[in-house]
Symmetry: C2
Subunit: 347 residues, 2 copies
């Protein structure tokens, strides 16, 4: 019933524990005959080494912990893909956990990872993420993605969300939109707040004095749907026309928005132009295909892991905590698809 241990294998092969260990780990100072017997015993007993014990004595786990808001869905799945690809290339395993936006869950997850991982890759784009810093083990190399943890990280990747919001607005204006609106992410998410700020500043600059309506969503498809409905309803009531261009703070909401607009019989992009954010895989399959601000989600994960590995190596080499490592800033880039391609853009 209990799993076979090295001791069992040693007894079965009639050698000492030490020899069994050496044989199994492929060291060269073992007689061929002994190695044969040990390996045979091991496979007969279905021996699998106890990772916990192993990492205890070796002070190494070959595993890195990944903490994301969620561990599924178009966006995070792409991040994980990037992390996974880079991790595999280095023989590292992944212990992933989702915080679901809850600081307590994040703390629990980090504690559960203690002693089980060699480094931490954290994405916690919440305004209260500083609280996380207080519980992070300070011996673990840490790299953050789009997070404001504090000054503890040895590397970080940030997204220029403000600049992305500005680009979205400039593009919509370019396409001839005279009225603008925004569907934002949740107030607890500082990335969302930055995008919103970018939208408002650029909109004010392009169309001075005009009031721009903002609907507060939560990054889900459903809230994007609700946002569009809200604009539709407001316009129906006030008699004003729909905004000609809507900047939606992420692609999932933009997809919901598209659905609502189609239901209402509004033509996209001619009546309403749409720009999303993230360029998740689904964006190009939407109808019409979604213009969006590409962040390179895959690279976010890949580069995040690479920064972490760098930090781990530094950490392993020197005995000192490296001074706050490099902070990469990624600028979103406009992907121009049909959802914002208006018939008669000005010359």
């Amino acid at each position: 019933m209990k799993g076979a241990t090295l001791k069992d294998v040693a007894r079965e092969a009639d050698v000492s524990i030490a020899s069994a260990s050496r044989a199994i780990n492929g060291l060269d100072n073992v007689a061929e005959e002994v190695r044969r017997r040990v390996l045979e015993a091991a496979s007969k007993l279905r021996y699998v080494p106890h990772g916990g014990a192993r990492s205890l004595v070796m002070a190494r786990t070959n595993t890195i912990g990944v903490l994301l808001p969620d561990i599924y869905g178009e966006f995070f799945s792409e991040i994980i893909r990037g992390v996974d690809v880079a991790a595999r290339a280095r023989g590292l395993h992944l212990l992933v956990s989702g915080s679901h936006g809850d600081i307590n869950e994040a703390v629990t997850a980090v504690r559960a990872m203690g002693g089980r991982v060699d480094g931490l890759l954290v994405m916690s784009p919440f305004v209260d993420s500083q609280d996380l810093a207080a519980v992070l083990p300070l011996n673990l190399p840490l790299v953050t993605i789009a997070s404001r943890i504090g000054k503890v990280e040895q590397g970080s990747i940030s997204i220029d969300n403000f600049g992305g919001g500005v680009k979205a607005v400039e593009h919509l204006i370019d396409q001839g939109c005279k009225t603008l609106a925004h569907i934002s992410g949740p107030p607890s998410n500082f990335e969302a707040q930055e995008r919103r700020r970018g939208f408002l500043e650029a909109a004010e600059k392009a169309l001075p004095g005009v009031e721009h309506s903002v609907f507060e969503g939560d990054f889900t498809e459903e809230s994007g749907y609700r946002g569009a409905k809200a604009f539709l309803a407001a316009c129906a009531q006030s008699g004003e026309p729909m905004p000609e261009g809507i900047f939606v703070a992420n692609d999932m909401m933009a997809v919901g928005c598209l659905l609502a607009l189609r239901e209402a019989g509004k033509a996209v992009p001619d009546e309403v132009a749409l720009v999303g954010f993230d360029d998740i895989p689904i964006a190009r399959f939407a109808s019409p295909p979604l213009s969006t601000l590409r962040v390179g989600v895959f690279d976010l994960g890949r580069r995040g892991l690479e920064l972490l590995v760098d930090a781990m190596e530094r950490d392993h080499a020197e005995g000192e905590l490296p001074e706050s490592g490099e902070g990469v800033i990624v600028s979103p880039e406009l992907v121009f698809r049909d959802s914002s391609r208006r018939r008669a853009p000005p010359a």
Copy 2:
């Protein structure tokens, strides 16, 4: 530099290791004053317990290992979501790994999980999965999803892929298709083989004596695109018309297929009707929305984890290996969307 250990905390709080342990684990036989000092010392030193050591002595990790072909993408991401939701409800953490269809990687992953997890949830839909059975630690509760590992599992969830293929054909025939074709998954995947077998048998039954072309894909969007191109090219060359109905072995390929058909100016569903498989989230956003066989991917993950927890509890209660546990079989259900909704279905 090294992480603080319990001993450090004990020293800092000027108590014994035992008391420190008790205080931190919230046992009641500790003086309030002592507890206060210990907790203070712990947070001052940023103490995080060593999970490896902990699981060594407690013989429990509160973590379950999840082995999938991949850990990202529409399909697997949905499985992970199901697993995650169910796991969170039970306070379990997840150690996920992707085998990438490589038996050696799967073996490596399983070994890496040894002693780090309390149970294993494995999906390995490959024809050579039996090889995995040989290395699975026999003390770990194991539940499989769409896998043919052998008789070692304590629970399993299978998909009626053959029946799904049959349903797809029957539906296309219902919609008035007189000629059929199939884009299959890779030969190494036995789910793909079952779907293909279902297609061929049902097609032969409905349209006796007719030859049905099959393009061999690999479940990627790109191979679906290639499949459609291949049919297009073959028809152009032979002068025969396109097949009126195509059963595509998964939704990702169907999406690629859709793209190629659109590029070629073929109307879906009127010229060519399409049915996919899986009902991944993207299916309803395709244009036209994709008819497909819903497998309930989320539930696959959720129920898989529940079966595993059951097995773990049995395992914990009795000392004996439970006899091969329940095997759930899931029947795909047709989701009728526009990609197969033909104008004039027969009465």
